[in-house]
């Protein structure tokens, strides 16, 4: 039944590529004058570049002429002009009748950036992903988001006919989740994270049948940071199907489909470019580059050519699921990259090696990055138990996997867990 009714919006999700490209261009050309007229930072950047909306009459002209913005530009605009929205608010949130709320970004790299919101209750674009999980009208759906940033998630759950169950994203709440799962038999869970996987593993080791406790779920969204292969195998062993989920340059989110081959970006809502991290040229389809995003739907805070600092792989090749929208694989942040002997290294590059060592299998580690260029890769690795020769075995594993021998500092994994918000730990630190 789920397979036969797989798409929430089949006409859009499976739109042939030429029509999707045309739709993007049409939406883009409609949005640009709005953004230029109303968002002060966009106007500032375009004026500095000598560009006006009249100059942009095609996707080609957009790619050739429209200037970039980034988070630093927003922060400077905020600080220089006293504009808390960093020049990106394009409507008056005090307008009577507007449901005005102000959310904020994660704050991973500084003060959270304000994300103004105006809308009305109803399902968001996430409905497509929630439907793909296998959640259907009448089902219960666990909302265990690691941070509460407004009602859009539970609006969307109700929008597909499901009832949200609100649970705190806290390992201590897992027993309650088990009770709620037994009582209401939810079919979806948004979302699981690395620390919760560790806590579930500890419960499993204490004798609890995690698979049985969570047997009602058809799909579980995983988010927060990359999912290592060992963690995925562990969750698979409980009979649970995980769907990786990632943000898309502050203009949306992307989630895997049942093919688990990249996260679908809804290209009718966002224009994605993947460029050379150190330049402006596009990289080849599927190659690692910096994600540059432009919204095609957000009239409140219309980001245009936003250099996200996120390194991704992205392909527009059609997916085996039948959807035509592109797929993204998050790799890490550009500002997290270290260069050792001329080689670029991101946390994701060494993750599998650390997971392969039994004592560090939780994948809790940090890259120490005092500067971008380093003579030697430095890793701080959390262990569950300290066995003789562990440091050498971790260094061997990383060298065998990646070809660089790191300098490893071992710490108890609890030390690292305490450093993070509930859903992740800082993966790159200065000291």
């Amino acid at each position: 039944m789920i397979e036969a009714d797989r798409y929430w919006e089949p006409d859009v999700e499976c739109l042939p590529r030429p029509e999707l490209d045309a739709l993007q261009e049409q939406k883009l050309l409609e949005l640009l004058p709005w953004a230029y007229e109303r968002a002060p930072l966009i106007r500032h950047a375009w004026d500095a570049a000598g560009v006006t909306p009249d100059d942009i009459d095609s996707m080609e002209a957009f790619r050739e002429q429209v200037p970039f913005i980034d988070k630093d530009a927003m922060r400077h605009f905020r600080d220089d002009r006293g504009d808390p929205y960093g020049g990106m608010l394009a409507i008056d949130l005090s307008t009577p009748g507007v449901f005005g709320a102000i959310f904020s970004t994660s704050g991973t790299t500084g003060d959270p950036t304000l994300a103004p919101f105006a809308g009305r209750e109803g399902p968001t674009i996430l409905a497509r992903e929630f439907w793909e999980l296998g959640v259907r009208p009448g089902d219960a759906f666990v909302e265990m988001l690691f941070t509460y940033r407004g009602p859009a998630i539970h609006w969307t759950m109700r929008g597909i006919g499901a009832t949200p169950i609100f649970v705190d994203h806290d390992p201590a709440e897992l027993p309650r989740l088990f009770e709620l799962s037994r009582e209401f038999e939810p079919t979806g869970w948004y979302n699981l994270s690395g620390p919760l996987v560790i806590a579930l593993q500890q419960l499993a080791e204490s004798g609890i049948d995690v698979g049985k406790a969570l047997s009602s779920y058809r799909g579980i969204v995983y988010a927060g940071e990359p999912l290592g292969p060992r963690a995925r195998r562990l969750v698979d062993s409980w009979g649970l199907e995980l769907f990786n989920h990632t943000g898309v340059g502050d203009v949306g989110a992307a989630t895997e489909c049942r093919e688990h081959d990249g996260c679908h970006v809804w290209e009718d809502t966002a224009l994605i470019e993947v460029l050379d991290p150190d330049g402006d040229e596009p990289v080849a389809d599927g190659e690692r580059g910096e994600l540059v995003s432009t919204t095609l739907m957000n009239l409140v805070s219309p980001l245009v050519r936003y250099r996200s600092d996120d390194l991704v792989r992205f392909t527009r090749e059609p997916c085996a699921c039948g959807r035509t929208h592109g797929r993204v694989w998050p790799m890490g942040r550009k500002s997290d990259e270290v260069v050792v002997d001329g080689r670029s290294v991101l946390p994701i590059d060494v993750w599998p090696a650390i997971e392969d060592v039994p004592e560090t299998a939780a994948g809790l580690f940090q890259m120490v990055r005092p500067t971008r260029e380093l003579d030697r890769l430095r890793l701080r690795v959390g262990y569950a138990r300290l066995e003789p020769g562990l440091r050498g075995r971790v260094e061997d594993a990383v060298e065998a996997h990646f070809g660089l021998r790191p300098e490893v500092e071992l710490v108890e994994q609890e030390v690292l867990l305490r450093q993070g918000p509930p859903h992740k730990i800082p993966r790159v630190v200065k000291t």
Binding site: E9, V12, H169, E183
Partner: protein, 214 residues
């Protein structure tokens, strides 16, 4: 979006009341929003104003009516988590947004931000004794079973909507009962609060009764 026609779920959401899973209907949330509008007015939220709500996800059935009420007042709202890891956000958004009221401050938040973080906030509502003692002007935000009670500027007990809820003192605990239809009925539901009910007139002018917690 080309919306599918799917039936609206009869249960709006399932949250927590005390340690119990609590189901609320769309009608319950709409009715609680009527109360929440008055609560926000009591806190000084007006058209064009801004309230920052600090809460946990499991408290959504208490928080959603406040969010909707802000919209009804043509005010804006923002949100942070009442967790140690997100406390920096509360401090940052106070600094960036200069809200008219911050509600939901807890011991955890007070312990994680600098002492002067709340100095310029006109109205602060707290949910536990440690936070109340730490912030001299703090008012109570009490979760009284499935509903909320807020103190006015008199700080002499938290007002609850007496047209929709009945709060009584049973032994040494406050219990609550619904006076309007609710999906999950409360019949002298223990609230976990110790204190008394005050029915005398409040100088603030509100006709709603108050609970004073001990």
């Amino acid at each position: 979006m080309t919306a599918r026609a799917v039936p609206v779920p009869k249960v709006w959401g399932i949250g927590l009341v005390g340690a119990e899973a609590w189901r609320v209907s769309p009608e319950d949330v709409a009715d609680e929003t009527e109360s929440a509008v008055e609560h926000l007015r009591l806190l000084g939220i007006r058209e064009g104003g801004l309230v920052l709500i600090v809460s946990r996800l499991a408290e959504t059935i208490h928080v959603a009516p406040l969010e909707l009420a802000a919209g009804r007042l043509d005010a804006r709202w923002s949100s942070c988590d009442a967790t140690e890891g997100d406390a920096f956000r509360t401090a940052s958004l106070i600094r960036q947004l200069r809200p008219d009221a911050v509600i939901g401050i807890t011991e955890t938040i007070v312990g994680a931000v600098t002492a002067d973080a709340f100095d310029d906030v006109p109205v602060i509502a707290v949910t536990d004794r440690v936070a109340r003692d730490a912030i001299p002007t703090a008012r109570w935000w009490l979760r009284v079973g499935p509903t909320s009670a807020f103190e006015c500027e008199e700080r002499n007990g938290a007002h609850y909507d007496g047209t929709r809820w009945l709060v009584e003192q049973l032994a040494d605990e406050l219990v609550v009962s619904n006076l309007r239809n609710r999906l999950s009925p409360a019949r002298q539901l223990p609230t976990g609060l110790r204190g008394r009910v005050l029915d005398d007139a409040c100088p603030c002018g509100s006709s709603w009764p108050r609970v004073e917690v001990s």
